[in-house]
Homo-oligomer: 254 residues x 8
Amino acid sequence: MDIDKVLDELRRGRMDARTARTLLSLDAIESVGGFAKVDVARRRRTGTPEVILAETKTLAETKAIAKKMLEKSGVAIVSRLGVRDRAKLAAFLRKQGATVSTARRTTTVLARSRRRGRIAGRVGIMAAGTSDIGIAEEARLMCESMDCECATAYDVGVAGLARVFPALEAMAKFGADALVVVAGMEGALPTVVASLTDVPVVGVPTSVGYGYARRGLAALASMLQSCAPGLVVVNIDNGIGGGAAAARIARRAR
Amino acid sequence: MDIDKVLDELRRGRMDARTARTLLSLDAIESVGGFAKVDVARRRRTGTPEVILAETKTLAETKAIAKKMLEKSGVAIVSRLGVRDRAKLAAFLRKQGATVSTARRTTTVLARSRRRGRIAGRVGIMAAGTSDIGIAEEARLMCESMDCECATAYDVGVAGLARVFPALEAMAKFGADALVVVAGMEGALPTVVASLTDVPVVGVPTSVGYGYARRGLAALASMLQSCAPGLVVVNIDNGIGGGAAAARIARRAR
Amino acid sequence: MDIDKVLDELRRGRMDARTARTLLSLDAIESVGGFAKVDVARRRRTGTPEVILAETKTLAETKAIAKKMLEKSGVAIVSRLGVRDRAKLAAFLRKQGATVSTARRTTTVLARSRRRGRIAGRVGIMAAGTSDIGIAEEARLMCESMDCECATAYDVGVAGLARVFPALEAMAKFGADALVVVAGMEGALPTVVASLTDVPVVGVPTSVGYGYARRGLAALASMLQSCAPGLVVVNIDNGIGGGAAAARIARRAR
Amino acid sequence: MDIDKVLDELRRGRMDARTARTLLSLDAIESVGGFAKVDVARRRRTGTPEVILAETKTLAETKAIAKKMLEKSGVAIVSRLGVRDRAKLAAFLRKQGATVSTARRTTTVLARSRRRGRIAGRVGIMAAGTSDIGIAEEARLMCESMDCECATAYDVGVAGLARVFPALEAMAKFGADALVVVAGMEGALPTVVASLTDVPVVGVPTSVGYGYARRGLAALASMLQSCAPGLVVVNIDNGIGGGAAAARIARRAR
Amino acid sequence: MDIDKVLDELRRGRMDARTARTLLSLDAIESVGGFAKVDVARRRRTGTPEVILAETKTLAETKAIAKKMLEKSGVAIVSRLGVRDRAKLAAFLRKQGATVSTARRTTTVLARSRRRGRIAGRVGIMAAGTSDIGIAEEARLMCESMDCECATAYDVGVAGLARVFPALEAMAKFGADALVVVAGMEGALPTVVASLTDVPVVGVPTSVGYGYARRGLAALASMLQSCAPGLVVVNIDNGIGGGAAAARIARRAR
Amino acid sequence: MDIDKVLDELRRGRMDARTARTLLSLDAIESVGGFAKVDVARRRRTGTPEVILAETKTLAETKAIAKKMLEKSGVAIVSRLGVRDRAKLAAFLRKQGATVSTARRTTTVLARSRRRGRIAGRVGIMAAGTSDIGIAEEARLMCESMDCECATAYDVGVAGLARVFPALEAMAKFGADALVVVAGMEGALPTVVASLTDVPVVGVPTSVGYGYARRGLAALASMLQSCAPGLVVVNIDNGIGGGAAAARIARRAR
Amino acid sequence: MDIDKVLDELRRGRMDARTARTLLSLDAIESVGGFAKVDVARRRRTGTPEVILAETKTLAETKAIAKKMLEKSGVAIVSRLGVRDRAKLAAFLRKQGATVSTARRTTTVLARSRRRGRIAGRVGIMAAGTSDIGIAEEARLMCESMDCECATAYDVGVAGLARVFPALEAMAKFGADALVVVAGMEGALPTVVASLTDVPVVGVPTSVGYGYARRGLAALASMLQSCAPGLVVVNIDNGIGGGAAAARIARRAR
Amino acid sequence: MDIDKVLDELRRGRMDARTARTLLSLDAIESVGGFAKVDVARRRRTGTPEVILAETKTLAETKAIAKKMLEKSGVAIVSRLGVRDRAKLAAFLRKQGATVSTARRTTTVLARSRRRGRIAGRVGIMAAGTSDIGIAEEARLMCESMDCECATAYDVGVAGLARVFPALEAMAKFGADALVVVAGMEGALPTVVASLTDVPVVGVPTSVGYGYARRGLAALASMLQSCAPGLVVVNIDNGIGGGAAAARIARRAR
């Protein structure tokens, strides 16, 4: 990223144009099947692999892109798969030699070309209701794609405050460097958690709820207006983003 | 309200049309100065006096209506007064022989033609932040206009959970028949309170906060989506309505 | 809830840590099947049982949680069941020895381990249109889960004002301690009712209607902006919450 | 408006291009001071004079346009004047020989070059609260600019239903061909009125109210979702439009 | 509706309580099957029959209510039927001896116990696009239920202004006393029409369109903000309401 | 469009009424099957053919209108077809002798009665993600219906900035007179593009994304608030409109 | 922008790093007073000068930045100045030797270091109401900053359609390469204009209007949902952006 | 936080009730002047001091609370002060012996009872426009209150992409553990930054901008919908929260 240095080397003839392009990141993009341009260098550059959003792609397209990602970066993570395609994609990726992880209540699939080595960080993941578990698991898979270890505590909403304290204790024992706290409805759990700990907390609002400010808007509003400073937020149902953020933080902490 | 009986009495000649009109509540309305028709029977009918919204009236109009209310129903409560008019109105109402109550951070004024007799009920009033006190005090004055006694606990928001428990204990000792819980920002306090007690809880969102879902929409959403069933809500900044509702409940409980 | 006392007893050795945990409500939570943590003490603490939201659970999960609730608290109430699962769940719960109640136009199911004893309060339930009956019945079942007796008056909207007055008379004769008034579209019925009675009124907006402010937003807005002070509101289509609130009030009144 | 006929006459030489332009309404526009093009033929074409929106004009500009309107169409109606400019404009228009009408709580000014002759229709105007009177008066002035006679009934909101019935009786006696019903907050009055009469009803929501759906959105929603079919609506605070619509209806009825 | 007179007659023994109840409209309600209270007097009272919203009813319920309406008021109009139920309901109503009308692109069904006699008024109905025809036909059926005659002009949107002028001429020749103008997308047609005629215009926004302010919000906004004063509006897709309003106006004009 | 001249010619007898009507565009409309009035002159008048929105039409109706458009203007473009109808319509139009174009991920169909002659302009089309390709292709077909040549660059979103620069270079080499830039989610690509080029840029937000400001509202907001002046926008998912606008600009540039 | 060529030249020693940085636009930024980094190359790169938004700056800061812009790019355009600062800034810029342009009803100021030479394009600017003139003039000044010539037609809204046709004729005679059409309230004018011409049309919604969808949202919605394809839009009140877009188009057309 | 241990110690008589309360955080609250309950332990518990929101307090109240905070926790940070009160408060706090920091364009004041010792972490702060500097400085002061060192880069928005790269290089050299990226309008900068680095990025949308999605909603939407996973967000204009979050992260990283 030291532009002057690259340009200078180039000018002095110590470097050819191809190398300069690479160093300036101009060759990070791989074309797949004529319809996609995959940013295979993203994981190296930002720590986060490019997530393949399967929702608007055919299974064939998803397979092709996932295969390319796996080859080039060692990790492929696919979200918003059709329910029926999950097993098919997992089988396909296993055939490529990858270790594949899936989870209950979510259609996200994680494939790694080899088991991870050292743990890059520790992330704790909490969910307020049983309905929020799918999004929480999405976060967990994302963290694992970034080589972090995870501990989870689910169904610990504030309507039964007594459930929250033991969960927080467990997270402290685990040594979490970052917490992902997933909640729908009134979304109060991240506020309560962030006011009881000094670990960075990423709130993930979910679309659980109905009526006024439904589809997660109440939970989002509640987290953004939180009286607990230091709480940060990602988009509604964005378990992927919440996991990615927590993993970035945890990696930084190691 | 027994229409048949009224109509029957009337038909039998045991009652004149004037009395029937009255019993059918047709004469409950008093005209003031040609521009207002005051519902002086409302307090008798619903327990709640008609509140005089001063915001869009001149001080002279407000005085005339308040005077009429005081004469006809023994109570006048005026909200959303201009800051400068509060002292003037209070003085005017004292001259009418009324006992006048005001409170910090709110421009609501309560006048009663005589001190209250027996206590009609007990209401506890909690506020999450110091910025919410004005609305809480508005609720208190409304409860007092309906002959309820009040206990208050202010600045007990969830960012410092340790503040909440002693406040709840105090409310239990006071014997509150209903709780008014006032909160702005993420509005989590009423959810936490309603999940720890079996007393009816009226949430009052306030417009404290800024940014997304500002002007109280976050707090309102949070209370409507609350995972604590049994929590009810009134409009944003509607301390008057929250107080009226709690007093109705408390009066019923006695 | 008297923390000092608990701590003091504990210190003096008159109480063991287990008892203190219980008194401080730290043992109120039961784990179910590894995925849910059920707050079985909620009914004792708040008068309201934890409602099992079936929408995002499998039937097997719902059964497991309902069974646990029934065992531990004597009541299980399940809302937002799939239409096809209603009969299955009811049969399952009857097999557990419970008395099971269901109602037309709603998929809420109430099971009680024994018939209720004394009536804890009386709640009147009104619905503006025939389309609002499902939500009203949800409220009725919730009230019954809290041992209240209910009277109902349906299809009494303000477009035919003459329907409202006899319904109000009937509620007065029944001796309702609280009214639940359910309305969609313009949501004017709770305002009209609250201005004609001194009983506490809980408005429940429904998502009946279409076009501008559809999905119940018009009815919600109308109830929050009501010119009848003392009207309180729960979320759109939240018959459960409306019933729980009214039952809390009615229980307090006895 | 019979285009073929105009074109045919023109072709036969029985009409010159100037006349054709006029008949095709091409000369209806008068330029004022280089910055405005006034549609002086609008009153003849649609029954409704062009309303001069003073809000974004200097007083000098408003005067110039009003003078032109008065000369060309016999009527000038100016709305949203600055408070201080009302008396100045009225004096200026009186100097032009016009009869000028103003009203309490509104800054709309109506000037007519001579007193009206025959009554073109009868319009009844109702307002729910004292805060709604300004908008109601705006409607009244608009109706008068279209030669309709008006009867008014103010402060007759549904929180005191007993006020509504006598007002409806008075409107029936007056023989109103159309009703303008002005209401803020929950906006229930037009629904109640439209369900009790067969006269066309124009609802005018006002921005009175606060909190959720404030600025008149609750009242607008309530009127659009009304269960009383036949109720029509204009924009929030649009007394001018409500009056114009009612006057159109009333003129048609004569 | 002359309450004093009714009460006076009753008092003098010239009228029994039953008659007074009727005159005060207290007996206008017919119960159907224990679940509905039908306002059979509405057509007499307001000119508009109660519309049966089929959307949330079973076919059997709809039939029962429609039959009762037909018997008591001579007209039954049913909207928002399931597509498959239209033919079934029509056949059922024909068996009751009614004349039944339906229309393309709408599921509204109109049944009359006999063919209408004299024409109560004339209504012109315009639609901007072919997608708006269903709502326009709903308006036509409603007008016919109120004994008005209709003329229609469809697919005359402003993107081809040349289509508008001949349609307006045709409406003038027909002698329309009121115009219903139906438009989706940007909703400009009612503004253009209302600025070219002095006939009352009822705008009906439709949910045709997509993207920003979709579901008819753009069309509604456009009609409410219209620079053509005198334009009134009903809710999005509310052809029933638009027709009812226009028929009220047209009936008044005769 | 020189009205005076037309009228003058007509008056002098040098032109008949029929010709005048045509010149005044009064005969541009063709009726199809009694339900549609097709603006066949639109392409001549505005450069843009009337687009046939198939969404709310039967296939038979769509065919009839497309056939008429093809005959009268040489081009028929049909959007929002049902997926199953695309092949059927294409076959039908080919039978009419037309050249038919379709594209991946979009259901828009373009038919031309003969292959285009000279190129009327050049348009570059960029899409941020693979999910945006369908809308981009819709834009391409629209441009081609207006005789413009297109170059495309897809999957070049800002999360991999290195993809953007080569795409811009390619567009410059192609000689694009206008750029259509399609993006969903946060919609940043048009801002980045517009700040790096002096070619007119039309942003097309798409409904790709979820959570807060989903359905394209985030992308729309981002493009309207863009800090790159000169960026213009069309509605969400409106590839047709974006293509039409760019083609208008490109045609003007030639 | 030909990166390879720059890198190649550099590598061959024919170019120094400084030149490469410049060609790669790395030196386009000038620092002003430690708090601003001005993009002085923007006008060269995109045709559009960087606009100085004065709203949140002190007059001293604005002066410093404007002076720098004038020196480096020959043009300074400042928008959203405080009313009182307009004359002061104009005087200051004249002292710098610039030719300064201002306009009625807008606080935008344009300064050029010398009078423009050749005309780069022609832009027509239309405004619907007199209240929209300020935004239209803002667009005009922006076009002039980009060396375009402008013709204007103001107060030509659709409520008086007869005003629109002559304005369109005038624009055709002027030879406009692009039209900016400014409208508030229902925003119908751009739709009508775009359906009558083949010149590219940029719609600018203004915040004129009140009530529902006020602050320009109705006008924006109307333009985005327009049935006239080819209409493009910029943000509400963004005369600057509308002018910049039109000037880009017009420059391309030359 | 090890509840069992505390309870056990207490039971064994090794600890008195007072100590247990403290360990259970029950004594963390200090009462100020009867109106506020200050959470003086928050900084110890969460790393973040309680921020004093001055907006709704009198200067006297603010002083009293700030003084208490300073005494009890060594830091007082006050935001949303009135402009005139800033100097007064700073002087008052200096008199208490504190070191006071303020910044341009923001009214936040930071006071520390002694200069900080070791640096707890490094935070980089970037702002897109000069209008965003106030919020960025608020973040800086917050970070400093948590003993972090900050580097800043302001006015580096994406409309001049060339400004972004050197700023990123500077941040990398500084060794930032977290980045706060502040942006209004379309809010694209955090997306661009997060896609070019692996440091955790906290986006802070500001209310700079106007028109559609004004008051920061566009920027917020853009950041929540960002295609750059790992970007987290706080509320609009919440520089305090953004700074607190970044400082938590940076402290964790050390």
